[in-house]
Protein backbone atom coordinates (compact mmCIF):
# COMPACT_ATOMS: atom_id res chain seq x y z
CA UNK A 1 0.00 0.00 0.00
CA UNK A 2 1.38 3.43 -0.93
CA UNK A 3 1.11 6.56 1.12
CA UNK A 4 -0.92 9.51 -0.15
CA UNK A 5 0.90 12.83 -0.18
CA UNK A 6 -0.60 16.29 0.06
CA UNK A 7 0.84 19.48 -1.41
CA UNK A 8 -0.20 23.09 -0.86
CA UNK A 9 0.64 25.58 -3.60
CA UNK A 10 0.25 29.32 -3.17
CA UNK A 11 2.12 31.20 -5.89
CA UNK A 12 0.32 32.52 -8.95
CA UNK A 13 1.34 31.11 -12.35
CA UNK A 14 4.36 32.51 -14.17
CA UNK A 15 5.77 34.04 -10.97
CA UNK A 16 8.03 31.63 -9.16
CA UNK A 17 10.23 28.61 -9.81
CA UNK A 18 8.93 27.06 -6.60
CA UNK A 19 5.77 26.24 -8.52
CA UNK A 20 7.69 24.35 -11.18
CA UNK A 21 9.59 22.49 -8.48
CA UNK A 22 6.33 21.49 -6.82
CA UNK A 23 4.94 20.28 -10.14
CA UNK A 24 8.06 18.15 -10.62
CA UNK A 25 7.73 16.69 -7.11
CA UNK A 26 4.04 15.95 -7.72
CA UNK A 27 4.94 14.22 -10.98
CA UNK A 28 7.66 12.21 -9.26
CA UNK A 29 5.25 11.22 -6.49
CA UNK A 30 2.74 9.94 -9.03
CA UNK A 31 5.48 8.11 -10.92
CA UNK A 32 6.50 6.49 -7.63
CA UNK A 33 2.96 5.21 -7.12
CA UNK A 34 1.59 7.68 -4.59
CA UNK A 35 -1.88 9.12 -4.57
CA UNK A 36 -1.55 12.90 -4.55
CA UNK A 37 -3.74 15.69 -3.17
CA UNK A 38 -3.15 19.30 -4.12
CA UNK A 39 -4.66 22.31 -2.38
CA UNK A 40 -4.25 25.44 -4.49
CA UNK A 41 -4.50 28.51 -2.29
CA UNK A 42 -4.49 32.22 -3.14
CA UNK A 43 -2.81 32.94 -6.50
CA UNK A 44 -2.22 29.25 -7.18
CA UNK A 45 -5.91 28.80 -8.02
CA UNK A 46 -5.10 30.39 -11.38
CA UNK A 47 -2.77 27.51 -12.24
CA UNK A 48 -5.79 25.56 -13.49
CA UNK A 49 -7.56 28.48 -15.20
CA UNK A 50 -8.93 27.11 -18.47
CA UNK A 51 -8.43 30.31 -20.49
CA UNK A 52 -4.64 30.37 -20.26
CA UNK A 53 -3.46 30.73 -23.85
CA UNK A 54 -0.14 30.22 -25.62
CA UNK A 55 1.33 33.07 -27.59
CA UNK A 56 3.93 33.77 -30.24
CA UNK A 57 7.24 35.27 -29.18
CA UNK A 58 8.75 37.78 -31.56
CA UNK A 59 11.94 38.06 -29.53
CA UNK A 60 12.45 34.34 -29.97
CA UNK A 61 11.42 34.59 -33.62
CA UNK A 62 8.81 31.88 -33.17
CA UNK A 63 5.08 31.74 -33.87
CA UNK A 64 2.69 30.40 -31.23
CA UNK A 65 2.95 26.83 -32.43
CA UNK A 66 6.74 26.83 -32.55
CA UNK A 67 7.05 28.65 -29.23
CA UNK A 68 4.80 26.06 -27.56
CA UNK A 69 4.62 28.25 -24.49
CA UNK A 70 4.30 26.29 -21.25
CA UNK A 71 0.92 26.62 -19.56
CA UNK A 72 0.30 25.40 -16.01
CA UNK A 73 -3.19 24.21 -16.94
CA UNK A 74 -1.58 21.89 -19.49
CA UNK A 75 0.86 20.65 -16.85
CA UNK A 76 -2.06 19.84 -14.56
CA UNK A 77 -3.84 18.03 -17.38
CA UNK A 78 -0.67 16.05 -17.99
CA UNK A 79 -0.40 15.15 -14.32
CA UNK A 80 -4.06 14.07 -14.27
CA UNK A 81 -3.37 11.86 -17.29
CA UNK A 82 -0.24 10.49 -15.62
CA UNK A 83 -2.19 9.66 -12.47
CA UNK A 84 -4.82 7.80 -14.48
CA UNK A 85 -2.16 5.88 -16.40
CA UNK A 86 -0.54 4.79 -13.13
CA UNK A 87 -3.86 3.93 -11.53
CA UNK A 88 -3.35 6.64 -8.91
CA UNK A 89 -5.57 9.45 -7.68
CA UNK A 90 -4.76 13.11 -8.22
CA UNK A 91 -7.25 15.26 -6.32
CA UNK A 92 -6.65 18.91 -7.25
CA UNK A 93 -8.69 21.30 -5.09
CA UNK A 94 -8.90 25.04 -5.59
CA UNK A 95 -9.75 27.31 -2.64
CA UNK A 96 -13.18 28.54 -3.69
CA UNK A 97 -12.97 31.97 -2.08
CA UNK A 98 -9.60 32.53 -3.74
CA UNK A 99 -11.14 31.58 -7.08
CA UNK A 100 -13.97 34.06 -6.60
CA UNK A 101 -11.60 36.88 -5.66
CA UNK A 102 -9.69 36.39 -8.88
CA UNK A 103 -12.55 35.50 -11.22
CA UNK A 104 -10.89 32.30 -12.36
CA UNK A 105 -13.78 29.91 -11.86
CA UNK A 106 -13.36 28.38 -15.31
CA UNK A 107 -10.99 25.60 -14.36
CA UNK A 108 -9.96 22.66 -16.49
CA UNK A 109 -11.71 19.31 -16.10
CA UNK A 110 -10.50 17.27 -13.16
CA UNK A 111 -10.07 20.24 -10.84
CA UNK A 112 -12.63 20.86 -8.14
CA UNK A 113 -13.61 23.70 -5.85
CA UNK A 114 -13.10 23.32 -2.12
CA UNK A 115 -12.26 24.95 1.19
CA UNK A 116 -9.49 24.91 3.79
CA UNK A 117 -11.42 22.10 5.43
CA UNK A 118 -10.64 19.96 2.38
CA UNK A 119 -6.96 20.77 2.81
CA UNK A 120 -7.14 19.77 6.44
CA UNK A 121 -8.97 16.51 5.66
CA UNK A 122 -6.60 15.61 2.82
CA UNK A 123 -3.62 16.24 5.03
CA UNK A 124 -4.94 14.11 7.85
CA UNK A 125 -5.47 11.25 5.41
CA UNK A 126 -1.95 11.59 3.95
CA UNK A 127 1.41 10.33 5.02
CA UNK A 128 2.85 13.81 4.81
CA UNK A 129 2.19 17.32 3.57
CA UNK A 130 4.50 19.79 1.85
CA UNK A 131 3.60 23.47 1.77
CA UNK A 132 5.06 26.10 -0.55
CA UNK A 133 3.94 29.46 0.69
CA UNK A 134 4.36 32.71 -1.19
CA UNK A 135 7.40 34.64 -0.03
Amino acid sequence: MTTALTFALMDAPFENSRTVTMFRIIGAALEAGHDVNVFAYEGAVALSFAKQAPHANAVHGRDAAAENHPLPRVWIESLITLAAARGRKLDWVNCGLCVDERGVAEAIAGVRRGTPADFWKMSMESGNTLTAGTR
Partner: protein
Protein backbone atom coordinates in the same frame (compact mmCIF):
# COMPACT_ATOMS: atom_id res chain seq x y z
CA UNK B 1 -2.85 15.23 14.92
CA UNK B 2 -1.35 18.59 15.86
CA UNK B 3 0.16 20.84 13.21
CA UNK B 4 2.52 23.73 13.83
CA UNK B 5 2.10 26.59 11.39
CA UNK B 6 5.47 28.31 11.05
CA UNK B 7 4.83 31.76 9.67
CA UNK B 8 7.67 33.93 8.41
CA UNK B 9 6.28 35.95 5.50
CA UNK B 10 4.42 38.90 6.98
CA UNK B 11 2.17 41.67 5.70
CA UNK B 12 1.86 39.94 2.31
CA UNK B 13 -1.40 41.00 0.63
CA UNK B 14 -2.82 42.02 3.99
CA UNK B 15 -4.38 45.16 2.53
CA UNK B 16 -6.19 43.30 -0.25
CA UNK B 17 -7.19 40.33 1.89
CA UNK B 18 -7.89 42.35 5.05
CA UNK B 19 -6.08 39.65 7.01
CA UNK B 20 -3.00 37.47 6.84
CA UNK B 21 -3.77 34.56 4.54
CA UNK B 22 -2.03 31.95 6.70
CA UNK B 23 -3.55 33.22 9.94
CA UNK B 24 -6.91 33.11 8.14
CA UNK B 25 -6.22 29.61 6.83
CA UNK B 26 -5.40 28.48 10.37
CA UNK B 27 -8.66 29.95 11.67
CA UNK B 28 -10.59 28.14 8.92
CA UNK B 29 -8.95 24.76 9.44
CA UNK B 30 -9.31 25.02 13.20
CA UNK B 31 -12.99 25.61 12.61
CA UNK B 32 -13.02 22.39 10.60
CA UNK B 33 -11.70 20.47 13.57
CA UNK B 34 -7.94 20.86 13.21
CA UNK B 35 -5.54 21.28 16.10
CA UNK B 36 -2.87 23.89 15.50
CA UNK B 37 -0.07 25.92 16.99
CA UNK B 38 1.37 29.06 15.44
CA UNK B 39 5.06 29.98 15.49
CA UNK B 40 5.87 33.52 14.41
CA UNK B 41 9.35 33.91 12.96
CA UNK B 42 11.17 36.64 11.03
CA UNK B 43 9.03 39.65 10.26
CA UNK B 44 5.90 37.77 11.32
CA UNK B 45 6.88 38.29 14.97
CA UNK B 46 5.50 41.81 14.44
CA UNK B 47 2.01 40.25 14.47
CA UNK B 48 2.43 39.73 18.22
CA UNK B 49 2.71 43.46 18.93
CA UNK B 50 -0.35 44.70 20.74
CA UNK B 51 -2.34 47.61 19.37
CA UNK B 52 -0.99 47.72 15.83
CA UNK B 53 -3.52 48.82 13.27
CA UNK B 54 -3.16 49.60 9.57
CA UNK B 55 -5.14 52.57 8.32
CA UNK B 56 -7.90 51.81 5.85
CA UNK B 57 -6.86 52.25 2.24
CA UNK B 58 -8.42 55.13 0.33
CA UNK B 59 -8.13 55.45 -3.44
CA UNK B 60 -10.10 58.31 -4.91
CA UNK B 61 -13.69 57.94 -3.76
CA UNK B 62 -13.17 54.35 -2.68
CA UNK B 63 -12.45 53.74 0.99
CA UNK B 64 -11.75 50.41 2.59
CA UNK B 65 -14.33 49.33 5.16
CA UNK B 66 -12.24 46.84 7.11
CA UNK B 67 -8.50 47.26 7.27
CA UNK B 68 -6.59 44.25 8.50
CA UNK B 69 -6.26 43.93 12.26
CA UNK B 70 -3.50 41.36 12.46
CA UNK B 71 -2.88 41.64 16.19
CA UNK B 72 -6.55 40.99 16.87
CA UNK B 73 -6.63 38.08 14.44
CA UNK B 74 -3.67 36.40 16.14
CA UNK B 75 -5.14 37.15 19.56
CA UNK B 76 -8.39 35.52 18.45
CA UNK B 77 -6.47 32.41 17.45
CA UNK B 78 -4.86 32.30 20.89
CA UNK B 79 -8.20 32.85 22.59
CA UNK B 80 -9.59 29.96 20.57
CA UNK B 81 -7.00 27.56 21.90
CA UNK B 82 -4.17 27.89 19.40
CA UNK B 83 -0.83 28.26 21.21
CA UNK B 84 1.05 31.22 19.73
CA UNK B 85 4.83 31.35 19.92
CA UNK B 86 7.45 33.79 18.66
CA UNK B 87 11.17 33.39 18.21
CA UNK B 88 12.99 35.43 20.85
CA UNK B 89 15.92 36.43 18.67
CA UNK B 90 13.60 37.67 15.92
CA UNK B 91 11.76 39.85 18.45
CA UNK B 92 15.06 41.10 19.83
CA UNK B 93 16.48 41.98 16.39
CA UNK B 94 13.44 44.17 15.78
CA UNK B 95 13.57 45.83 19.19
CA UNK B 96 10.27 44.24 20.20
CA UNK B 97 11.21 42.30 23.32
CA UNK B 98 10.13 45.23 25.47
CA UNK B 99 7.08 46.06 23.37
CA UNK B 100 3.59 45.31 24.59
CA UNK B 101 3.07 41.85 23.16
CA UNK B 102 0.13 39.49 22.91
CA UNK B 103 -0.53 38.30 26.46
CA UNK B 104 -0.87 34.67 25.48
CA UNK B 105 2.39 34.73 23.52
CA UNK B 106 5.12 32.26 24.40
CA UNK B 107 8.59 33.57 23.55
CA UNK B 108 10.86 30.74 22.47
CA UNK B 109 14.63 31.06 22.04
CA UNK B 110 15.91 29.64 18.78
CA UNK B 111 17.69 26.92 20.75
CA UNK B 112 14.32 25.83 22.12
CA UNK B 113 12.72 25.24 18.73
CA UNK B 114 13.60 21.52 18.53
CA UNK B 115 11.67 20.90 21.74
CA UNK B 116 8.72 22.87 20.37
CA UNK B 117 8.84 20.97 17.08
CA UNK B 118 8.79 17.71 19.03
CA UNK B 119 5.29 18.57 20.23
CA UNK B 120 3.92 18.63 16.67
CA UNK B 121 3.77 15.63 14.33
CA UNK B 122 3.32 18.04 11.40
CA UNK B 123 5.12 21.27 10.73
CA UNK B 124 4.12 23.50 7.84
CA UNK B 125 6.33 26.40 6.85
CA UNK B 126 4.81 29.43 5.19
Amino acid sequence: MKTLQVLETAYRATVEEQDDTIVWLTHAMKGAGGEFGLLLTGNAVCYAVHGQRAPALALGAWTQSHAADLGADVAALAAGGVPVHAVEEDLEERGLLDARLLEALTVVPRAGLPQLFDEYPRIWKW
